[in-house]
Symmetry: C3
Subunit: 268 residues, 3 copies
Amino acid sequence: MRTSTSFCGELLDLVRERNPLVQCITNDVSMNIAANVLLAAGASPAMVSAEEEAAEFAGIAAAVTINIGTLWAGAVPGMKGAAREAGTAAKPWVLDPVAHYATAFRRQVVSELLELKPTIIRGNASEVRALAGDVSQGQGVDSRDSSASARGSALTLARRHRCIVAVTGDTDFVTDGTRSAVIEGGSPLMPKVTALGCALTCLTGAFAAVAPGQPFEATIAALALFSVCGEDASHRAQGPGSFQPLFLDALAAIGPQRLDAEARISLQ
Amino acid sequence: MRTSTSFCGELLDLVRERNPLVQCITNDVSMNIAANVLLAAGASPAMVSAEEEAAEFAGIAAAVTINIGTLWAGAVPGMKGAAREAGTAAKPWVLDPVAHYATAFRRQVVSELLELKPTIIRGNASEVRALAGDVSQGQGVDSRDSSASARGSALTLARRHRCIVAVTGDTDFVTDGTRSAVIEGGSPLMPKVTALGCALTCLTGAFAAVAPGQPFEATIAALALFSVCGEDASHRAQGPGSFQPLFLDALAAIGPQRLDAEARISLQ
Amino acid sequence: MRTSTSFCGELLDLVRERNPLVQCITNDVSMNIAANVLLAAGASPAMVSAEEEAAEFAGIAAAVTINIGTLWAGAVPGMKGAAREAGTAAKPWVLDPVAHYATAFRRQVVSELLELKPTIIRGNASEVRALAGDVSQGQGVDSRDSSASARGSALTLARRHRCIVAVTGDTDFVTDGTRSAVIEGGSPLMPKVTALGCALTCLTGAFAAVAPGQPFEATIAALALFSVCGEDASHRAQGPGSFQPLFLDALAAIGPQRLDAEARISLQ
């Protein structure tokens, strides 16, 4: 077990060096901000999701991310095809089960996607609690549970699906079912900017792409980068509107040393 | 009839207190900015539109908004299902008939949606004039008629469909067919930022969600909030690009007293 | 052959005077920024793409632009219908073959669109090289070839399809197969902001709309406007996040004289 968290800076360097091609099958709200987050951090986003090409494209992508935010039936074959291809090729894929509890359709699609064995699941506390089968206050896409309250659910989920689970919120929690990490930082402005969580899912894919066999560390590094840059941007922002450009600037400007120095990660 | 407009601040407080879940079936241009406008103002947006879940989700949403900006045939069943469910559950729903005059397809879909009895219709002057059957200069999505020229059309529409009609533009006009209000403010920069009108439609849904039985007041309050914050942001903006983050900051920062003090509303 | 490039300022004036209605069939990542770029520059964007109305809408639009960034099978009939209608009505239409080399589906759709004779093709170096049948390093949507390396490919393509070809990147290159122009300017921040190239495709449509019979000059003017405003914004930006609002402000603020004075165009 690693006791230092300097792998965060190392992985950030690798993202910038290798510029991994991340296939983002994401929702229509997050498309633009997710692509900008990946570009700012140093990765190469590609929003390729159609049934006709998603699986084929997963063959050239370095990682796949799948988000059900604006789900429709026509999107499901592309999601499954890309996830299956990622599995076959042993490439990481990340699942973001946005508001999966809200409708029968979402619950069904998420259960089918879970069978395709995501490498990483990232969600807010309401999503992770509900996915583990625990009581959740979630209604829409915003969490109505504290992130600390979802840690037990995250452990359950990680063990059940043999994957990494990340709960993001006021503090973040990452676990592989055995090891875990708490990441502090960020800003109360972040949930006031739509789709930042969705963008973080895509960024997690970028880090996982450059850290084969280390999805736990990759997830921590992506979350730490978000937290440090979010906190930094919030100090200069006047509100959720000015936060967004400042946050992208911070993602592009930060170096590995500063990331390692400012990340507040407790490995457990 | 109310002679004071302090209900605007009261409703803003209610939006922040209740954080209403607003189901926004909106176009692909406006998804991100509409969600950010709702979050900044204090509501909880959910962009849920697919046939498989839109009606079910309307069952948990506090209001529904429907915008035909990037209409396609596959979107229509979800729109109708959500509108129908809102009607059954006596929840407010808002129609934004973007450029409905432009094609036969749009005209047909809007006429079908009108049969489902929207609580509120919000459009620009060209859209409202054409919807009332009056001569309109509209071609694309931008208005080519002055908002003042659409007041008679708005009254006609409101009486015909027994709903609130809001015409937004250089000045705004709201009517329930009997009472009416003129709202001044805003900025010439606002039509230079895409999809702000669409975002306002969603925001109107948020206000209607917390004002059952008062869609006239809710619409005025949403428009007044937009006008005050738009004017405020325009004083500091250097152009349409810097306007957008400043506008979101203003929406998040404004308090009820300031809204009431600065809103320029003439009730008639 | 024109030796002065003062047509750039003249065409910018015409865009603002005529406010051309540009039908943008573009990808879901670029929708918002493309519309904002067109509004800032003075045009009127309309994102109308569905099979049910795209061809009909092309009948009222002044130009059509087609971008395959987030292609799916349901989008193809609308693309073809609009392109065909533009051809019949002798209106300009612009093709942006995003990452066409990445999958069989994209290659097939692009070959079908090429048969409908685009007036202008705009792409990055990897896209233009691959489209001409030359070796390309392209994988995802970001270019991995230098723009200078694609000049021969652009000439080949322009002659083969009797159209204008624009390669954009660190320097831009425009050719009609005989004449050519190199445009310098812009900023290394621009490829770090998603979908700016897609927005430029739409802007090229706006310029072509006001310059009938002069698509070569229209393309140069659109690219010169982007380069001058991009360079201007980059001087004040702190990174890719703050670049975007500054860039939109610059597009709205620039006058024709300044465009002509600052554009760095070599006609050849």
